[in-house]
Amino acid sequence: MNDVILNMPSVLRGFSAVVRRDILLAWKRPGDMLNPLFFFAMVSTLFPLAVGPTTEQLAFSGPGVVWVAALLASLLSLNSLFMSDFEDGSLDQLLLSPQPLPMLTLAKAVSHWLIAGLPLVLVSPLVAITFQMPARTIGVMMVTLSFGTMSLSLLGSIGAALTVGLNRGTALLSLLILPLAMPVLIFGARTVSMAAADDAVSAGVYFLAAYCMLMLTLAPFATAAALRISNE
């Protein structure tokens, strides 16, 4: 019995091992990481050109455009969250490791956010400038986008786990996730609009934070269960 206990590795080590490995992988294949980022930058910079350059038009459409672009950019990279692990057999190894699976799926979602979500948040001020957003609005946008992309990574991990065994599951994945992501989009874009109109924003930010916490606590378990089913 003693050596069984000795053989149990610490949960935090497993968590950080997964995060470190995924970031290292993204580092070695920067294309995967830059793709969604380019998509985000392109969509949101093309919009002002198409909609028209007047300040009112830009201020009106800016928050919505940035949020839709961010949502689609996150979706773009979600499909590959478990795909490569599934294909090379590392998913079996993760499922059979002595670590609690929800912790590992949480690590996968967190590293997805660090790779796909965080760069997006960091680039968003540049995009916001093209929409002539004032500094306060940019701050609010970054905060809401942080919560929003984190929620999407976690929510998306459930969808990615459900569709991992399917060929071309991208459409299905979007179909599964988008309805649940709607509150994030609505509250996120609306909060930024309110910030632009100098209204109070705390309610929206609180809602997004609450949604993010809900996902943080529930999504890893759902993802773990989904992975076990779809890897049969």
Binding site: N7, P9, D92, L96, S97, E232
Partner: protein, 204 residues
């Protein structure tokens, strides 16, 4: 010699087809269980079922005398899984891959040089796995298995892609593992026999 893994009345369907029913099997410490049978007879499925990756239609599995349900964490801490896929990242090199593995389970990384030496991999540590040959990748998977220090090895077709020396090495590793009181379940259609310690399950 104590019972390590015990399966009773196992039954598994894939689609409409029954792969096996009322299957009994047992692996004691220090024993090798060979699962053989023609292609498509369900060797891999049986192995995946025993590992808990697949659910059996019927039957129960015991691990060290206790029902395996609810004991999966202890079971997995003592299990290494070697499938026909390498289970390592092609973009990372060997050391990065094995380092990741030791984050997942409590392994002693000081043994790494010795293990790599044994596997004939110590000149390949800087290369990403995708530039290694299929046989060399297989050896990486074996190195991971050795590092894990688990009691039960589950191996699915361990001889594929290996050269003759590699195949002999696998047999040698299994024999040593059994000698140390470990157990091994191997699904293969190739002949493998370790004197006096081999059990066999044949699937139709």
């Amino acid at each position: 010699m104590t019972e390590l893994l015990f399966g009773h009345d196992l039954c598994l369907f894939r689609g409409d087809r029954c792969l096996f029913r009322s299957l009994e099997l047992v692996v004691n410490t220090g024993e090798l269980l060979v699962i053989d049978g023609p292609n498509g007879s369900g060797k891999t499925s049986l192995l995946r079922g025993l590992a808990g990756l697949l659910e059996f239609e019927n039957g129960n599995v015991r691990w060290s005398g206790d029902a395996i349900d609810g004991n999966y964490q202890a079971f997995r801490a003592d299990l290494v899984w070697l499938s026909h896929r390498v289970g390592c990242k092609a973009d990372l090199n060997l050391v990065e891959n094995l380092h990741f593995e030791s984050g997942l389970r409590a392994t002693d990384e000081r043994r790494l040089p010795a293990v790599l030496d044994r596997m004939g991999l110590n000149r390949l540590t800087d290369l990403p796995l995708r530039s290694l040959s299929a046989g060399q990748q297989r050896r990486v998977a074996l190195a991971r298995m050795l590092l894990a220090e688990a009691r039960l090895w589950m191996m699915d077709e361990p001889f594929t892609n290996l050269d003759r020396a590699g195949q002999a090495l696998v047999e040698e590793l299994i024999a040593e593992h059994l000698e140390k009181g470990g157990s091994c379940i191997v699904a293969t259609h190739q002949a493998i026999e370790i004197q006096g310690r081999t059990r066999r399950v044949t699937l139709q």
